[in-house]
Symmetry: C2
Subunit: 353 residues, 2 copies
């Protein structure tokens, strides 16, 4: 006997293009081994977590497709099966534990799911205890202090290896990762320009986040010219969250020894934008490096990332943008909003208080 | 008064597509300061070289165009002006010298030109004396021991950072650089497959150069499938000399943490092949690095490259492929042959004995 656990799933694998809300459904299950009352779980080492904040990320679309090249490449991008709960990063509270490392009441962060409760299996090695003494809002541990933050930090410092004064371009700059990359870059003495999809976001970048400049890519008929205008001395680092034409334009405007951190390609996920075809001659003659990366290959940066970012937060040097929706029911809409550009900063779902 | 100096030049900058022999002409000049008889040259430090072997390279096409993105990026890819001699790597003999480092009769290698005589300016810092005691044919110093060799060596070892047992794919594998990359890779314990454009070349790769396998790309309707067949366990390193569809197919077949050395894109130089549009999702999820490089950024490898390669040559562990034409007159045809795939190995012109 388990108690009820509601979760969000896909009805079927998503074929191509943009999914719709009807692609998703909210289900309920009693089959999970949630013997909370007795405090006992099925397997040794299992931890039962009541989810508080859940992350909603664009890459999950690639997992929902019938086939995506990403699915065979990275453990965490494995195909999502229709009818099953979809795992996602989040913050929750331990309600039962067979694991000596975690006890009831602990606040934890890790791989949970788009559901009310998650049983974290075998030792919970994906789970970490949240240090409540730091006093940050709990949601931060699923946004700036979670994988999005590490992605920005490791991608910028470990992949791009910035030098003071370098010119940095960030696409999807008001998104969860881009907004942090731009701020890290400014704090490291770089010149930073971001692009985004609305006037409000562009204003946010320059007026609130300290970007040197920003532009609305939807108002630019020629992205190469737009970048040439914003980078008369060329781009040294491009932190790419979108792929497609913007990647081509950035390569065309890069300086010698330029670096591209390929973090995301949201313009290509829905199949609506053609894949980027950057000029290979530029890549060769300008000795450009394009490097795809995933945060979890950079866990050696984790401690530095946490201490540096926490300090920036305490000193008010970095701003946190969160786009929080209420309740599991809001997941489909929040998820689709990522592709429409509805979000500013990190998209989170508050599942429970 | 100078003596006659014949040289090859372009009549006009090449607009697009494939040039023809009529794009070139052989001119003669008496204007160069070739006061050989007196042994005196115009400026201090100048060295007058009688050219023996000259290199003919695909990248020179990009310099001959009205505009190529390469021209603004790398000093040595600057635009070639119609009517002027075209600089090119080569081996020659000093016939007069104002520079204490070189004396009459010295055999030298360095940046010369598609001409009979070259005046190497200001200190000849691009010029090195050839060590004749090693006993290699002089042409080797313009092929395997010249920039093509360093490109192969540095590109493979310094850019790709191979590990024993890794799977290596080389395109244009019977060309000047590819044929060496494949041999270096085999000597480093890698599994190596090359592609080329004729049956004869394919046979050469497996039967003479020790490649594990090879295929004729012109007979493959689907390059992705071809690579999947030849690399059932995926590609770890792709040494790219061609760009275009082959680059896309290689990325699709790469393993996690795969590396692409972007060395050349001959399929794109003539504008006849569409630029490569590799799947950015592959790049991200497989954490692929694509790195453009030029040999002259890797001069720190020069000493190691020379000693290792000389040793391989003395031990008969590496084979040298040279495609030598006779006389300046043969330059246009030899140059165009690079794009038709006429050459096997390094294309050189013997200007004088």
């Amino acid at each position: 006997m388990g108690m009820e656990n509601r979760y969000v799933t896909i009805k079927d694998n998503i074929a191509a293009g943009m999914p719709t809300e009807s692609s998703f459904e909210l289900r309920s299950s009693r089959a999970t081994p949630l013997a909370i009352e007795g405090g006992s779980l099925g397997s040794q080492q299992d931890v039962l977590v009541k989810n508080l904040y859940l992350s909603v990320d664009p890459y999950q679309l690639n997992r929902m497709k019938k086939f995506s090249s990403s699915q065979k490449s990275a453990g965490f991008a494995s195909r999502v099966l229709p009818g099953q709960a979809i795992d996602a990063f989040g913050v929750g509270r331990v309600v039962a534990s067979n694991n000596g490392e975690f006890k009831e009441g602990d606040v934890v962060a890790g791989l949970l799911g788009w559901e009310e409760y998650t049983v974290v299996k075998s030792g919970g090695n994906m789970l970490t205890k949240v240090d409540l003494t730091c006093g940050f809002p709990l949601s931060y541990h699923a946004s700036i202090l979670g994988p999005s933050g590490l992605t920005a930090y490791a991608g910028f410092y470990d992949v791009c290896k910035p030098k003071m004064g370098e010119k940095v371009f960030v696409s999807a700059a008001s998104g969860s990762v881009g907004s942090l990359v731009g701020q890290y870059a400014k704090l490291s003495g770089c010149y930073v320009v971001g692009c985004s999809g609305t006037k409000e976001k562009v204003d946010l970048l320059t007026q609130k986040l300290g970007f040197d400049d920003a532009f609305n890519y939807k108002e630019e008929p020629d992205l190469k010219s737009a970048l040439q205008r914003h980078f008369p001395d060329g781009i040294d680092i491009y932190f790419d969250n979108v792929g497609g034409k913007m990647l081509e334009a950035a390569i065309a405007n890069m300086n010698i020894f330029g670096r591209v951190a390929a973090c995301g390609a949201i313009s290509e996920y829905t199949g609506e934008s053609a894949p980027a075809a950057p000029d290979v001659l530029d890549v060769i003659y300008k000795r450009i490096t394009i490097r795809g990366f995933l945060a979890y290959d950079h866990l050696h940066c984790q401690a530095e990332f946490m201490s540096t970012t926490s300090e920036y937060l305490r000193d008010g040097k970095i701003r946190v943008l969160e786009h929080i929706s209420q309740g599991l029911e809001s997941i489909p809409s929040a998820f689709l909003g990522l592709f429409r550009g509805d979000n500013v900063g990190k998209t989170l779902i508050r599942v429970s208080d």
